[in-house]
Amino acid sequence: MALYSEKVMDHFRNPRNVGVLEDANGIGEVGNAKCGDIMKMYLKIEDDIIQDVKFETFGCGSAIASSSMATELIKGKPVSEAMQLTNKAVAEALDGLPAHKIHCSVLAEEAIRSALEDYHKRMDS
C-alpha cells in the first residue's frame, strides 16, 4: 500500500502554481518550522476575482500537495468563494490524506484565509 494517493503524489511531484507573485496584493504565511510545515500564499486579486495565485511551502509531501491543490481550487474564483475553502475540500480533492496528515490540509486552508485577510486589510487602508 502506498503512503499517499496517486493524486497526492501527482501534486507533490508536479506542484501547480509554485513560486512567488511579485505583484501580489494578498500574502499569507502560516505554520512554523517547529512543527515542520510552513506555507506561504501569494494572491493577485482584481475585480474581486483571484486572477493569479502562487505558493511556497516548506514541508512534507502532503503539505506540498495540499498547497498545490488549494491554489487550483481557488484560482479564477471570486473572493467570497475562496473564503469558503475548507481543509476537507482540499483533502477530498486529493482523494484523501492519511489521518496524521490532515493537519497539512488545515494549514492550506489557513494559508489561503490568511492571504485573503491580508488582501482585505490592504483594501481597507
Binding site: 511551502t57 512534507c60 502532503s62
Partner: protein, 394 residues
C-alpha cells in the same frame, strides 16, 4: 534500486534464507518433543546458541532467543529493574538518544516508581564514561547505554562504561542492535552484563533476536507459558529463524574486517560529497561511527519530501523529520545532539553497505544535491535565509 536503509533492515542473506527453508521443509519438529524428530530440531537450536555465543564471546547458557531487539531490550531492562527493586535500588542511568524500545520501557518503570537519569550525548553524539561514573548512586541498579546509535551511527565507549559499572557493582546493559555483525562486540572484553541484538540488522530474518545475560543474572520472563529458554521465554521456538540468525551472524563475523573497510571508504566518499551542499552538516561524530552510517541535516528543507523524491530516483533512505515519525516533533536523537527543530526536520540518513559501487555513491550525491536545490527553490524558509531576514544555522 539503490538501497541505503540498512539501519532499518537488511536483506536476508542467501545462506540464511536457505537455512530457513530447508529447516522448514525437513526439520520442522517441536524441539520440546522427546522423539528423535523433535530432538533433531532441539539440536539445531542448541547449535545456533553455541554459534551465536562464540561470535560475541559468551557461553551458550547465556544466550536467550527472543522475537527481536525490542523484546530483548524490554526483558533486559525489566529484569535488571526487578533485581534492583528487591535490594531497594530503584535508580537507572541511560542516555537521551536510546531507541524507543529502551526509552519507553524506562518511561513505564518511572511510572512504577523508578527514577531515571538520561545522560547528555553532546553535540557529537557520544556519552563519556566520566558522565556514567558521576551519575552512579548508591541506589543505581542499572546502566543502559546503546552500543551504537541507530540514527547517527555514533559508537559509544562501551568497554570503559562497562568497566566503571563493574567497579561500582552496577549491572550494565547495552542495546547492540546496530553493532552486532557490523563492528567487533565481545561481552567479556567489553564488560557487558546484558546485551540485545536483532537478526534482521545483520542479514538474518525479521522477528528474531537474542538477549545475552551473563551468568548469575536472573532474567524475569515477559511471556509466561512453557519452559522454553530455561523458563525465561515461553513459546515454541522459531527454529528456522534462530538457525538462520546464527548462519547470518557467523557470516557477518567472518567477513567483518574486509567488509567494514570497504564500507567505510564508501561512507567517507558519500560524506565528502554531501558536505559540498551549502548549509548542510553531518550529524554525529565523524570518526567514532558505524562503517555504513551517513546522517546529514540540510537547512531550509523538510525530510519527508526529500525522501519521496529520492525514492522517485530509485534511492531508499530515511529521515528523522516529524512527518516521517508520525508526531509533530522531529527525531529525539537529533534534538539530543542539539539540532534545533528547524534543521532537525531536514535530516537524511543513508545507511549503506559494501554492495554499492563508487558510481552509485556519486549518483546518490548528485541526486541529493538536485533534490535539496529543487526543494529549497520553493521553500519560504530558504527565501528568508537568502534574503537575510533569517540567520543561517548551518
Amino acid at each position: 534500486m539503490i538501497y541505503a536503509d540498512n539501519a532499518a533492515t537488511t536483506k536476508i542473506s542467501k545462506s540464511a534464507a536457505d537455512t530457513m527453508y530447508s529447516l522448514m521443509q525437513e526439520t520442522w519438529g517441536n524441539p520440546s518433543s522427546l522423539y528423535s524428530f523433535g530432538q533433531k530440531a532441539k539440536e539445531v537450536l542448541e547449535k545456533a546458541r553455541e554459534e551465536i555465543a562464540a561470535v560475541i564471546g559468551a557461553d551458550p547458557k547465556e544466550i536467550y532467543f527472543t522475537s527481536g531487539g525490542s523484546e530483548a531490550d524490554n526483558q533486559a531492562i525489566r529484569s535488571a529493574a526487578l533485581l534492583g527493586a528487591k535490594k531497594g535500588k530503584k535508580h537507572i542511568i541511560s542516555s537521551a538518544f536510546e531507541h524507543h524500545a529502551v526509552l519507553h520501557t524506562l518511561n513505564k518503570l518511572e511510572q512504577e516508581g523508578f527514577e531515571v537519569t538520561l545522560l547528555d550525548v553532546h553535540e557529537n553524539g557520544i556519552v563519556l564514561p566520566e558522565q556514567v561514573e558521576e551519575a552512579i548512586r548508591e541506589d543505581t541498579c542499572l546502566v543502559t547505554i546503546m552500543f551504537a546509535n541507530n540514527e547517527i551511527g555514533t559508537i559509544q565507549p562501551i568497554r570503559a562504561i562497562g568497566e566503571i559499572c563493574r567497579k561500582k557493582g552496577v549491572l550494565f546493559h547495552t542495546d547492540a542492535v546496530q553493532a552486532v555483525g557490523h563492528i567487533p562486540v565481545n561481552v567479556r572484553q567489553d564488560n557487558i552484563d546484558l546485551l540485545s541484538a536483532s537478526a534482521h540488522k545483520f542479514h538474518g530474518p525479521k522477528g528474531v533476536g537474542f538477549l545475552y545475560a551473563g551468568k548469575g543474572i536472573r532474567l524475569d520472563s515477559l511471556i509466561e507459558g512453557g519452559a522454553q529458554e530455561r523458563g525465561k521465554r515461553a513459546g515454541t521456538e522459531n527454529v528456522p529463524g534462530i538457525a538462520a540468525m546464527a548462519t547470518a551472524l557467523k557470516e557477518a563475523a567472518a567477513g567483518m574486517e574486509e567488509k567494514s573497510a570497504r564500507t567505510k571508504a564508501l561512507r567517507d566518499l558519500l560524506i565528502e560529497g554531501l558536505r559540498q551542499i551549502p548549509h548542510s552538516a553531518l550529524n554525529g561524530d565523524a570518526a567514532s561511527r558505524l562503517p555504513g552510517n551517513v546522517n546529514f541535516c540540510f537547512e531550509g528543507i523538510e525530510g519527508e519530501s526529500l525522501l519521496l523524491l529520492l525514492d522517485d530516483k530509485g534511492i531508499q533512505a530515511s529521515s528523522g523529520s516529524a512527518c516521517t515519525s508520525g508526531s509533530l516533533d522531529p527525531s529525539h536523537v537529533l534534538l539530543a545532539i542539539g539540532r534545533v527543530h528547524d534543521v532537525a526536520h531536514g535530516s537524511l540518513r543513508l545507511s549503506i553497505e559494501d554492495d554499492l559501487s563508487e558510481e552509485e555513491i556519486g549518483y546518490i550525491v548528485q541526486s541529493v544535491k538536485e533534490v535539496v536545490e529543487y526543494l529549497r527553490g520553493f521553500s519560504p524558509i530558504w527565501r528568508d535565509l537568502m534574503a537575510g531576514k533569517k540567520e543561517f544555522i548551518l
